[in-house]
């Protein structure tokens, strides 16, 4: 077997094992929390008889491990089950929410990744001069402000004061792509500002590290233009750490945007998960947890594989 293929298979198998472990953790976590779903559905109206009926109906009187394996059996056959609270099919309702989250993450990534890398390259080219300082200061400032505050500031200025962009990022299928992009413009802006600093600074640091090497000096002595040196000679050797940080930020764009979703009332996974956690709707929480864990693990596998491919020393292990 080709060593790369072998590596890929190994990583994926490890990832699946990690997913299984994550699902156990999530199940245990939601089970030990106080209160249960029957209690939460019935709320203040929970008489002992009604509680007992509902628990029976939801199959909650089985021991925990039986419930877990029942659920796992369903998932392995592609059945995520139905939500305990409103009886909706989880795969359908989550599919739509996941689609929305990925849509937002995609457009945030499309803007932020090239921008971050581009700014990083510019910062290296003019290192310690004013463009570098301006870029560093601004990105450092936006990454330091909590994202919900950035969101509120953006809403205050752009929607309330100037009424230029909508503060509600509600999208649905009946809207055209243009309308959807207009609707999500503010959350995209906030997400870009949030992830930009990390990626840009990492790019800058990684390239500067390579710039110390002797072969860069040779390139300079050959008389190559500074920018050509950076993107032809320095950047390819700095790609591994850059890909790592980009992947980490992409994963964040999918799983870490709960707060931004709440601020802009965006119908994504975050709000969906929070609602169901509050109601102890274990199947939904597990399904969401599984998707989030899969995204994280998947992104990390991609980052690993890319950095190995980008590095000949790792590509041909002795």
């Amino acid at each position: 077997m080709h060593p790369i293929l072998k590596l890929l298979v190994q990583r994926i198998a490890l990832g699946l094992l990690l997913l299984l472990a994550a699902s156990v953790l999530i199940f245990v976590g939601t089970t030990v929390l106080p209160g249960d779903v029957a209690q939460n559905i019935l709320g203040q109206g929970a008489t002992p008889q009604a509680l007992e009926n509902l628990r029976q109906q939801l199959g909650m009187n089985d021991p925990a491990h039986v419930r877990y394996f029942n659920w796992l059996g369903g998932v392995l056959q592609g059945d995520l089950g139905t939500a305990l609270t409103n009886g909706q099919d989880i795969a359908t309702s989550m599919g739509q929410r996941l689609g929305n989250t990925l849509f937002l993450a995609f457009w945030a990534a499309v803007v932020s990744v090239p921008l971050a890398i581009g700014l990083g390259l510019i910062a290296v080219r003019y290192r310690n001069r004013w463009p570098d300082k301006v870029i560093s200061t601004i990105t450092l400032a936006t990454v330091s402000v909590p994202e919900f505050l950035l969101g509120y500031i953006a809403i205050f200025i752009l929607s309330v004061q100037f009424r230029a962009l909508p503060s509600l990022a509600m999208i649905n299928e009946s809207m055209s792509l243009g309308e959807q992009l207009y609707a999500i413009s503010l959350p995209v802006l906030v997400l870009v500002l949030t992830v930009l600093g990390h990626m840009m600074r990492m790019t800058r640091a990684a390239i500067l590290n390579v710039m110390q090497s002797a072969y860069i000096e040779t390139a300079e002595l050959k008389g190559l233009a500074p920018f050509t040196i950076i993107y032809r000679h320095a950047f390819p050797n700095a790609i591994a750490p850059v890909v790592n940080v980009v992947m980490l930020n992409l994963a964040y764009l999918v799983v870490g945007v709960v707060v931004v979703e709440v601020v802009f009332v965006y119908p994504g996974m975050g709000q969906y998960l929070v609602d169901h956690v509050a109601k102890r709707d274990v199947p939904v929480v597990q399904a969401c947890g599984l998707v989030f864990a899969a995204v994280y693990i998947g992104m990390n596998i991609i980052a690993d594989v890319v950095s190995i491919l980008a590095n000949p020393r790792l590509r041909h292990p002795k």
Binding site: G35, G45, N53, S167
Partner: protein, 528 residues
């Protein structure tokens, strides 16, 4: 008034002349902006409702776990969805009268045990079926069944039997209840075709608007039901609810004009929001109240003097000023206020009196160990701060309170109705009888003050069957006096419903039965 101004006023009221231009002209005639505004609003009302348009409401209190099954509704957005798409038998007006909806009239036997609802002819469900007495009966039967898990089950439990008799639905009670028609106004009891037995969450009702899009926790859209029976209501072509749980986002949406109405304005921002252009902040006193509850059968709260000491040691006005920012009124240790029918004004208001508090505390012989008060943010907005104010004022009377913060998660299952002293809230009920029997009768499931008073229970039952309003009022006064002195309820304040309403919305009425005009804004308002 000058003829030209009169002419302009009528043009502006019909929407043919812009509001801004009218205000400018009015100023030129020497009129203040406030006067011109009032004049215009009156003229607009006189002009009558404008049909058409889409009302956008930004609502907090919706979750992606919400169902369309009327039995399961518990939070604000499902409440509004039901009020917009469903039609009840009867409704309660702002001044506590019955408003006949699908029931045309209601009569009772002399003993208040048998009630006859005459069902209206010609009302139609959204699926084109005519509303029949059988549908009404099936709906009521479904809510009486424990399996339906209905929020109205408590109301239905007093019913012995129900049957259809011609165009009447006859309800027979096991014990007399003079309030039965009021109880039928409960928002869960929306009439569904065949009672919604086969598919309770299909969202088909007989209200002014039918459901088009149902995305729980995101948005709900409605379209006018063309064959709605009451032509005096439902002026919009469509209604859209956007679920905005984040308070800041909701306020931003109304300020930027993306919604016409926003519910649940927080008291602390209401004053600031009122200064924003293009909207008005409306507040109406409701029946909801914030409480501190003691278990009257658990030490140390089983001592009447200690309970009285704590009741005297709370500064109610300070709470209304600081926790509600003035958007509310002080409570009097009973769960009833002037918003209820048959409220008795004669009960003296309990004042903040440190001397009396210290006196009662001394008489209670409490050993001086700290009294633990459990609170959480979810008990009511500002609960933690209210507890801190209570702690400070009690300390002045020498009563040591210790605040224990509990996690919001699980507060309603682990703390409320379990721990002997905690913070909580009540949303109010349509009539006094229901409020008392829900939480203060000895046998109530939610007797969260562990109040067991035979005299109180006896009067409650007697009042329930009494059709003579004067006698009933006297009985309620007696019960209020018992609870005021003996009970474990410390009720410092009644909270207002506060809403932000865009200037385009006309026909707004003051209605504090529930929030946003008791859920009737889509039915009674229109866009100028």
């Amino acid at each position: 008034m000058n003829d030209e101004l009169k002419y302009l006023l009528s043009r502006a009221a019909q929407g043919k002349y812009s509001r801004r231009a009218f205000m400018g002209k009015a100023a030129a005639f020497g009129m203040t902006a406030a006067m011109a505004n009032t004049l215009l609003a009156t003229a607009v009302r006189a002009e009558g409702p404008v049909k058409g348009g889409t009302l956008l409401m930004g609502l907090g209190g919706g979750e992606s776990t919400n169902s369309l099954d009327p039995a399961l509704a518990a939070s604000q957005v499902p409440f509004h969805v039901l009020r917009t798409s469903g039609e009840p038998l009867v409704d309660v007006t702002a001044d506590g009268q019955l408003d006949m909806r699908l029931a045309e009239s209601v009569e009772s036997s002399a003993d208040a045990k048998t009630w006859m609802f005459k069902i209206r002819q010609g009302a139609e469900f959204h699926n084109g079926k005519t509303v029949t007495p059988d549908d009404v009966l099936a709906t009521l039967l479904r809510h009486s069944d424990e399996k339906a898990q209905s929020g109205a089950l408590g109301i239905m439990q007093g019913i012995e039997s129900m049957k259809v008799d011609g165009d009447m639905v006859v309800v027979t009670l096991s014990t007399a209840n003079a309030d039965l028609p009021y109880l039928m106004a409960d928002y869960h009891l929306m009439i569904q075709p065949e009672g919604g037995v086969a598919n309770p969450a299909d969202g088909i009702g007989a209200g002014a608007y039918k459901i088009i899009v149902n995305e729980p926790g995101v948005r709900h859209t409605f379209e006018k039901h063309a064959n709605y029976w009451d032509s005096s209501r439902g002026h919009y072509y469509g209604v859209e609810f956007l679920v905005i749980n984040d308070a800041t986002a909701r306020m931003a949406a109304i300020q930027s004009g993306q919604v016409h109405i926003a519910n649940r304005v927080e008291p602390k921002v209401a004053g600031l929001l009122a200064r924003a252009p293009g909207l008005t902040v409306k507040n109406v006193s409701g029946r909801g109240h914030y409480v501190f509850i003691m278990h009257a059968n658990t030490a140390p709260f089983d001592n009447k003097d200690l309970r009285l000491a704590l009741k005297y040691a709370i500064d109610r006005q300070e709470m209304v000023d600081k926790i509600l920012q003035g958007y509310g009124s002080i409570g009097n240790d009973i769960p009833i206020n002037a918003a209820y029918p048959l409220f008795d004004e004669s009960l003296p208001q309990r004042a903040f009196d440190l001397e009396k508090a210290a006196e009662h505390y001394k008489a209670s012989g409490h050993d001086g160990s700290p009294i633990i008060l459990r609170v959480s943010d979810v008990a009511f907005p500002g609960a933690i701060d209210a507890a801190a104010l209570f702690q400070q004022s009690a300390a002045k009377a020498g009563i040591p309170l210790e605040i224990k913060r509990e996690p919001g998660d699980g507060y309603w299952s682990e703390v409320w109705n379990k721990q002997p002293f905690c913070a909580s809230y009540w949303g109010g009920r349509p009539v006094q009888d229901q409020m008392y029997s829900t939480a203060y009768q000895s046998t109530a499931d939610w007797n969260d003050t562990r109040f067991f008073n035979p005299k109180f229970d006896e009067t409650l039952l007697a009042a329930r069957g009494e059709l003579d309003q004067t006698k009933r009022k006297a009985m309620y006064a007696e019960m209020a006096a018992i609870l005021h002195d003996e009970g474990g309820l410390i009720c410092p304040m009644f909270n207002d419903f506060i809403e932000a309403v865009g200037d385009k919305v006309q026909g707004w009425e003051t209605d504090g039965v529930q929030e946003v005009m008791n859920g009737l804004a889509p039915h009674k308002t229109w866009l100028a």
